[in-house]
Amino acid sequence: MDVKETVRLWSVRRLYGTADRTVRALDGVTASFHPGTLTAVMGPSGSGKSTLLHCAAGLDRPTEGKVVIDGTDLGELDETGLTLLRRERVGFVFQAFNLVSALTAEQNVALPLKLAGRPIAPAEARAALAEVGLAERAGHRPSGLSGGEQQRVAIARALITRPAVLFADEPTGQLDTKTSRQVLGMLRDLVDNQAQTVIMVTHDPVTASYADRVLFLADGRLVDEFTTGVTAEAVAARMANLEAVASC
């Protein structure tokens, strides 16, 4: 096995529903993600891109196939084992920010470490907030932060455990253009300067253009991959083509 890969999927299948009415959300996907790269997963609605992210991140279990994160086979872990792996090795950023509304920004950032029962220096959470440019907002609750600020807090929280891989599900889905650019620029910096591995799902070609590599999904299968010439225009053209096929 090539240990250089942070995340690897082998023929992953994910079926939903009952015996008589099955939905194939993923239909045999094999892919690998290398350290220090930013990968975008794209596809029309219902193509299985979110399911791919959930299976790769250990939030969902594949019906068939194997997922390995940082050398650990997820299939061999029970629910608690999976939780511990996610806590130690995986970070998440979601579309809906997903901060605990009762906690301040600083407490939200410290939450994963607290759940892990690790001693946490007060400076640690503040430093993580400073990295995303929110040092002076540490005491605010989510309701007092803008959408962009909330998403940056979520990123700080995802990175506090120094995860092997950061998953992002439509990270800019609820942000305006300017804040989107800020957040994406920040993700790009993480990859370039700290060799962070990032996998993000998006349907927005501009967002995808920040990636090193773009994977295209349709009907639960990988149908294309851009590794060079990742521009918003090229991605948009390929997407338009996929959507046209999907709507036939």
């Binding site: 979110s50 959930h54 939030l59 969902d60 629910e79 608690t80 939780t83 511990l84 996610r86 806590r87 998440f92 979601f94 809906a96 920010f97 997903n98 901060l99 605990v100 509304s101 939450l111 994963p112 759940l115 892990a116 989510p142 309701s143 803008s146 959408g147 909330q150 929280r157 455990t161 599900d169 609820q174 305006d176």
Partner: protein, 676 residues
């Protein structure tokens, strides 16, 4: 007393004594309760003194006094000091305290049961509302165990604070409750509540324990929330009900029916308490089945609403159906209360009716003479109307233990018809030949021919010969009437049997009555106590249900304000919005009431037929519908009020200022806002 009766020294007064009316001359008035007679007169009316109290000076050495008294009394008496004096408590007080114990036990068990229920249903609703929050915690690395511990922790904090408040309140109100219990007749006069630390600490611990027990299932459910649920827009819990729950629910229902039947067979003594357990088992069963039953019934119940033209009917039906969890959470406490109220009041009243029915069939005379405002009938009263009566007295075993005794004649037993000889012939009753009750025969190993050594009420020792065992005596030992009278001048009868109703001369403290009147009044005092007890239990459970219903609706309303505002913006008047909310909560209460009846009525019918078979007679099913209606109405009014009050903020059509524009608020299918 002299003032109240207008008596002065020198006047003559006629007083009803155990020998009948007697005339005394008032020689003076004293500053104390009661009537004072000369020793000679008193000795003619009573059997001497069984207890002599010794009053010590403050600071006296009680142990020294006791040993001096012991030396003086010798073998003729026993000396009791301190706590041991409880052995001298009168049998009436002892019985009253036993009833009080039943009342308090029943209320404690019921409160604990209903609390667990209310906590469980509130937390289940809370966890359902917070699924997304738990999913988020799971996604950022909380293990199922940590989520479970978090829910337990919340219950511990809330339960601890609530238990502390309850303990403080209990310490303050306890003495008043004690007075209430005495006034209601559940505790003897002189009973008082003393507040001390151990019971308060115990109550606190029980309160916290109840909270933890209540959240058990909610905590498990919270721990099962999967991290992905943080990402889903609609977190709907539409999994089918697990098979274990079906089995447990059906099992509890069956247990409840069996227990209801067992309660009826057990007899009057433990009726309320065992009825309580039957009701609780039934209710647990139905509450377990509720997730399967409520949606189905709600759909059927609201079907007509869809037919109407108005928007209100449609809104009420659809929101009650989509927010099935809120509907179930509101309906369950009502189900518990109504089911409980119908079962327990129905059991008590049906049983009282069947006892009365049983009594009229056993008595072989046409009329009776009953005491009229006095503790019992004297021989003079019975003789004046040509009736025959049994006497109540007591016997004392060598260790001082009292046995209840009834003195009767074979002819009297024939007339009363309640006594059945298990062995021996009642005709042999007379002199020292007695019958004993089955339990005494078993406890003391008595058989026909055994000797029973006792002391009579007047202190005379004697040896009784057991002729046989008899049931339905109403006392431990059945003696010849003459034997009782010879040793107890003060013994009275509670009824005299006469061939037909004849007027009783005035001043005898007696009145004639036909059998139905007698049957209805014979247990009136006991029935009144049992009924008060029952009402107390119903009141307690109604109060808990009301709190639970109001609480659920308040919790639900917070998440619905936005929906209601939308309704308002779409052109509904304030009145229409509040009407919808009130109708929704009313629907849930009606649903709960209906299910409560469904629980209780079959159990009651089963009980009635079992009981009818037992006494070989038709027993009427008595349910105090007025009371049940009042319980349901209380829940209805409270639910509607709580829902309307909590929804009022939605009536102003302004947006909340802190909601940011450009952010769509996500909501679950039950309408509650998903916290971000």
């Amino acid at each position: 007393m002299s003032r109240a009766l207008g008596l002065a020294a020198g006047t003559e007064a006629t007083v009803l004594t155990v020998r009948g009316p007697e005339t005394f001359r008032v020689s003076g008035t004293v500053d104390g309760p009661g009537v004072y007679l000369s020793d000679a007169d008193a000795a003619a009316l009573a059997e001497g003194v069984r207890v002599i109290g010794v009053v010590t000076e403050p600071g006296a050495d009680v142990a020294a006094v006791a040993s001096a008294v012991r030396a003086a009394a010798g073998a003729q008496g026993r000396v009791y000091t301190g706590e041991a004096r409880g052995a001298l408590e009168s049998r009436d007080d002892e019985r009253t305290r036993w009833i009080g114990m039943q009342v308090l036990t029943g209320m404690t068990v019921l409160s604990a049961f209903v609390s667990v229920f209310v906590v469980a249903s509130t937390f289940a609703f809370g966890v359902a509302q917070r699924r997304r929050e738990f999913g988020l915690l799971r996604a950022v690395g909380a293990t199922p165990r940590q989520v479970r511990r978090m829910v337990y922790g919340e219950a511990l904090v809330v339960g601890g604070v609530a238990a502390a408040c309850g303990v403080a309140l209990g310490a303050v109100l306890g003495p008043s409750l004690g007075e209430l219990l005495v006034a209601a007749g559940f505790e003897p006069v002189g009973f008082e509540v003393r507040v001390s630390a151990p019971p308060l600490a115990g109550a606190f611990a029980v309160g916290v324990l109840v909270a933890l027990l209540g959240v058990w299932s909610a905590a498990r459910r919270a721990a099962r929330v999967r991290p992905l649920e943080a990402l889903r827009e609609a977190a709907v819990d539409d999994r089918p009900m697990p098979r274990g729950r079906w089995i447990a629910g059906a099992g509890f229902c069956a247990l409840g029916v069996a227990a209801a039947f067992g309660a009826a067979v057990a007899g009057p003594e433990g009726l309320v308490t065992s009825g309580l357990y039957a009701a609780m088992a039934m209710i647990v069963g139905v509450a377990l089945l509720a997730p399967a039953v409520v949606p189905f019934v709600a759909r059927a119940l609201t079907w007509p609403l869809n037919r109407g033209r108005g928007a209100l009917g449609m809104l009420v039906r659809e929101s009650a159906l989509t927010a099935i969890r809120r509907t179930a959470s509101t309906a369950t406490p009502v189900l518990v209360t109504v089911g409980f109220a119908v079962l327990i009041t129905g059991m008590v009243q049906t049983t009282a009716a069947s006892f009365a029915a049983a009594r009229t069939t056993t008595i072989r005379t046409e009329a009776v003479i009953m005491p009229d405002g006095v503790p019992g009938l004297s021989d003079a009263a019975a003789a004046a109307s040509g009736g025959e009566s049994a006497l109540f007295s007591a016997l004392y075993e060598a260790n001082g233990e009292a046995l209840s005794a009834i003195g009767a004649t074979p002819a009297l037993l024939e007339r009363a018809g309640e006594v059945r000889a298990v062995s021996g012939s009642p005709a042999a009753l007379g002199g020292d030949r007695v019958f004993v009750s089955p339990w005494l025969a078993k406890e003391r190993g008595l058989r026909a021919g055994s000797a029973l050594r006792v002391a009579f009420e007047d202190g005379t020792p004697g040896t009784l010969r057991v002729e046989g065992v008899a049931e339905g005596v109403g006392a431990d030992v059945l003696l010849a009437r003459d034997t009782v009278r010879a040793h107890d001048k003060a013994a009275l009868a509670d009824v005299a049997y006469v061939a037909r109703a004849t007027p009783v001369p005035p001043g005898m403290g007696a009145r004639p009555a036909d059998l139905d009147t007698y049957a209805a009044q014979a247990d009136a005092d006991e029935d009144r106590l049992v009924w008060t007890f029952t009402l107390l239990l119903v009141a307690v459970s109604t109060a808990y249900a009301a709190v639970a219903v109001a609480n659920t609706l308040m919790m639900a309303a917070g998440g619905r304000l936005r929906d209601l505002r939308v309704l308002r913006l779409s052109g509904a008047t304030s009145r229409q919005v509040l009407g919808t909310v009130a109708a929704e909560s009313a629907l849930a209460v009606i649903l709960g009431t209906g299910l409560g009846l469904v629980v209780a009525i079959p159990a009651l019918l089963g009980l009635r037929s079992g009981y009818g078979d037992l006494i070989g007679r038709h027993v009427p099913l008595v349910v105090p519908w007025g009371l049940i209606a009042a319980v349901a109405a209380t829940c209805l009014v409270l639910a509607a009020t709580a829902a309307v009050l909590a929804s009022r903020p939605a009536l102003t059509v302004r947006e909340r200022p802190h909601v940011r524009t450009g952010v769509t608020v996500k909501r679950r299918r039950d309408g509650s806002e998903i916290p971000r």
